[in-house]
């Protein structure tokens, strides 16, 4: 149904809100990546079957409910606590259930829905055994504040009706009723800074584009989220796609653009499909295309798919990719906001940045600026992953400390092991150690400490993570993602990676650490684009905070974390071993022998140092020892 006026949209919203109010319950089944892998799709089907069997009429996702419907079932985007899935949230009581299996659907329907009870043994539980009756009480959620992720995990992603019912496109209406300059001013006053990691003032970027003289202007959404360990943008694209369109439309109105692009990473086909449906639905409803809401505003959006190149997350490379060329960046001497796509002024912003825009326009700059820190207003989404107890997707006010994120929200280090480091900013970022845990997370504090906040990947590392291996990992990643145009990056990153590799293998020479540091500094200075310029960051920050570990690898050929396989063999501590037998089948080299309930032993000759035994051992009975290397 085409919404040909602002009034029509308001009426539609009114009708949808009333319709939703008539339903007694809403069941939100998380259909994020991890939950689906754990069986959420099958769970949703099972709930629908059980409801039908029990005579409970459901409305599913954004479908119009039948007259007898009393419950809405929504297959939502990521609800955040990824490793405890499949997640189910029941409203209005705000019950929050973890690990719900398809075969438990019958109980969910009869107890939680028909009997309106809370199923205690499915609720999240504290380390002391206390059950959390509502989601609001769960520490993982209690410390969070959702702005960019507000709709993710709540709305039915593919339903325009559901988005409207939740207040969607009210911000666009507001933007259409203000002078474009006021939109820019609002975003600037809000202090919104680029959430992709660059942190450039969004309002100022829009202002420069708006004032550049040109026949065409473009709005591009950067969905090329390439940092390994980051999936915030994926969650928003899959879980709340209409919000992105609304944010882009507001930007287009502000700068005078009529065409937008969403550049989606090749590895996110579900996001591409979903955004495609979203755009089609918007066009049909008159929310994209010519004469949006009858307000004399034309704007349309196209999807551009990436081809599997991390470098295309860099703005000039991304634009060349849209133009059908290889994704080779150009030297950033002319800003793309002035001469970008096809040489025209272009606003390129990250998915999360656009996701913040509707709320800012609706609730005002002061509201947004009241959260966060003076230099970094608002909130930031993070993917808290790695060796942390509660891995998942979160959003916190800027200024929350690393310690609060990792321990209060994340529940501390996995298996209670000692904290070692936290890596942020992906391959352009750095790592910080225990001494920096009380730093506030924002654009400036982490950078001052030699790291950077980045786009949101936050990787927690324990004592079984080797910083030399981590530095090598990032350089290896960048070596395969380098576009290859300039010498310092193409040749330099490969050489730096090689030096790190020799350190991992125990074949490094004295002086190699200083040679590596010098090379890293030169790569940072001389490279053509930001991929090369920031490539040395993970290595340089690791050396700053963990230099002794690098020296031990080079001089003593030891890896204290027990990760570098050429330097490590494993042995079983006879005092601690309980003979449970978990280690033997886990060993890919068949190096472990032992009778049931008897102490097991590892054949050092066969041991390849992979550490699988140590990972599965529940008694902390496996020790990493230095491998006897020849010519030691």
């Amino acid at each position: 149904m085409k919404l040909t006026s602002i009034d029509m949209l308001a009426q539609r919203r009114e009708a949808l809100v009333q319709r939703a109010a008539a339903l007694a319950h809403e069941v939100r089944v998380c259909a994020g990546t991890a939950c689906v892998a754990a069986g959420a799709g099958k769970l949703s089907d099972a709930i629908q079957r059980e409801a039908a069997a029990k005579g409970l009429v459901l409305a599913v996702d954004g479908d119009a409910p039948d007259a007898e419907a009393t419950v809405r079932l929504v297959n939502t985007g990521c609800q955040g606590l990824c490793q405890a899935g499949p997640l189910v949230r029941v409203l209005p009581q705000d019950a929050f259930y973890c690990g719900v299996r398809p075969k438990q659907a019958a109980r969910l329907v009869s107890e939680a829905l028909q009997n309106n009870a809370v199923i205690a043994d499915w609720c999240a539980v504290s380390p002391q055994g206390q059950r959390y009756a509502t989601r609001a009480e769960v520490p993982f959620y209690r410390h969070q504040q959702a702005i960019a992720l507000e709709g993710c995990g709540a709305v039915a992603p593919e339903s325009l009706d559901d988005y409207i019912a939740h207040g969607g496109f009210a911000a666009l209406v507001r933007a259409l009723e203000m002078p474009p300059e006021d939109i820019v001013q609002t975003v600037e006053d809000a202090g919104l800074r680029g959430r992709g990691g660059g942190g450039f003032s969004t309002g100022r970027k829009w202002r420069i584009a708006a004032s550049a003289s040109a026949s065409e202007r473009y709005v591009i959404c950067n969905g090329d989220e390439g940092d390994p360990g980051a999936f915030m943008d994926c969650a928003i694209m899959e879980g709340d796609p209409f919000r992105i369109i609304e944010g882009m439309a507001i930007a287009a109105r502000a700068i005078g653009a009529q065409q937008g692009f969403i550049y989606v990473r090749h590895e996110y086909p579900k996001a591409v499909a979903r955004l495609d449906k979203t755009i089609v639905a918007c066009r049909k409803a008159g929310l994209l295309g010519a004469g949006i809401l009858g307000a004399g505003f034309d704007f349309d959006v196209e999807i551009a798919r990436g081809g599997g190149a991390f470098v295309c997350g860099e703005s000039t490379a991304l634009m060349r990719s849209i133009e059908g060329q290889v994704g080779e960046p150009r030297a950033n001497y002319i800003r793309s906001v002035q001469e970008g796509l096809y040489g025209q002024p272009t606003v390129l912003n990250n998915v999360e940045t656009f996701a913040c825009v509707p709320a800012i326009i609706e609730r005002g700059a002061a509201w947004f600026a009241a959260t966060g820190t003076p230099g970094s207003s608002g909130t930031k989404a993070f993917c808290l992953v790695g060796k942390v107890a509660h891995t998942g997707l979160i959003e916190v006010p800027m200024g929350t400390t690393l310690r609060q994120v990792i321990f209060d929200i994340g529940g501390g280090v996995l298996d209670g092991r000692p904290f070692k480091a936290v890596q942020t900013g992906g391959p352009s970022g750095g790592c910080l150690g225990e001494a920096q845990l009380d730093l506030p997370v924002d654009f400036d504090a982490l950078t001052a400490a030699g790291s950077m906040m980045g786009s949101g990947g936050m990787i927690v590392m324990d004592d079984r993570t080797c910083m030399v291996d981590v530095a090598h990992y990032y350089l290896s990643f960048l070596q395969s993602e380098s576009c290859g145009r300039c010498v310092p990056c193409r040749e330099g990153v490969a050489q730096l990676c090689h030096l790190l590799d020799t350190m991992r293998r125990g074949t490094a020479k004295p002086g190699d650490l200083d040679r590596a540091i010098r090379l890293a500094q030169d790569i940072a200075q001389a490279s053509l684009c930001s991929l090369g310029k920031s490539a040395p960051n993970p290595f340089l920050s690791a050396v700053t905070h963990f230099r002794a570990e690098f020296e031990a690898h080079i001089n003593d050929r030891t890896c204290s974390a027990g990760v570098c396989r050429d330097l490590t063999v494993f042995a079983i501590d006879a005092q601690a071993c309980t003979g449970c037998g978990l280690c033997a089948p886990a060993c890919p080299a068949d190096a472990i022998a032992g009778a049931p309930k008897q102490v097991h032993a590892i054949d050092a000759q066969k041991c390849t140092g992979c550490g699988a035994c140590r990972t599965v051992c529940r008694d902390d009975a496996v020790r990493a020892l230095p491998r006897n290397l020849p010519c030691n």
């Binding site: 990546t33 990824c82 081809g307 990719s321 060796k387 886990a586």
Partner: protein, 158 residues
């Protein structure tokens, strides 16, 4: 993956795009690859001709973007995620084990044509690290000792 049905002829795929529009090159190549499993020399040439770009440019694009494969692939694609979370939870050990089990490593196809193996960048399922994907199916928390068993189960009908 929502995909163009595999049986479509090259011409049909190419014809979906307006002639003479260079900027559609990546999309067209992606569609061809989705349908045919890889990009043949013929396909790259046809795409180039239709869009009015040189074969030189089309080949350059096909080799720059890692999404494209220029050799025929196995019946199923096995992807090993090498995102940071997967890495520190043992992805490379997993890759070695896959290599041992299947007799082919990253970038290769098994001798029987069953699997093509790839190392891929982060797939966004970090909570389930380490992660393997068999075509679209995601296997989480895969330990090296269980690789053979889980691959066998994934290869079977759902």
């Amino acid at each position: 993956m929502d995909a163009v049905p595999r049986a479509l002829e090259l011409n049909d795929i190419v014809a979906k795009y307006p002639s003479g529009e260079p900027r559609a090159l990546l999309h067209l190549l992606q569609d061809i690859q989705t349908a045919q499993g890889y990009l043949s020399r013929e396909a790259i040439g046809a795409a180039a001709q239709h869009l009015g770009v040189t074969e030189t440019r089309a080949f350059q694009i096909a080799t720059f973007y890692k999404a494209f494969h220029l050799r025929p692939r196995g019946r199923q694609t096995l992807r090993i995620c090498t995102g940071t979370s997967c890495h520190i939870r043992g992805a490379m050990v997993l890759a070695d084990e896959v290599h041992k089990t299947l007799g082919a490593g990253p970038g290769e196809t098994t001798a029987d044509g069953a699997f093509s193996i790839e190392l891929v960048n982060c797939v966004g399922a970090c909570a389930l690290a380490p992660v393997l994907l068999v075509d679209g199916e995601m296997l989480g928390n895969v330990h090296p000792g269980t690789v053979a068993r889980r691959l066998k189960r994934a290869g079977e009908a759902p």
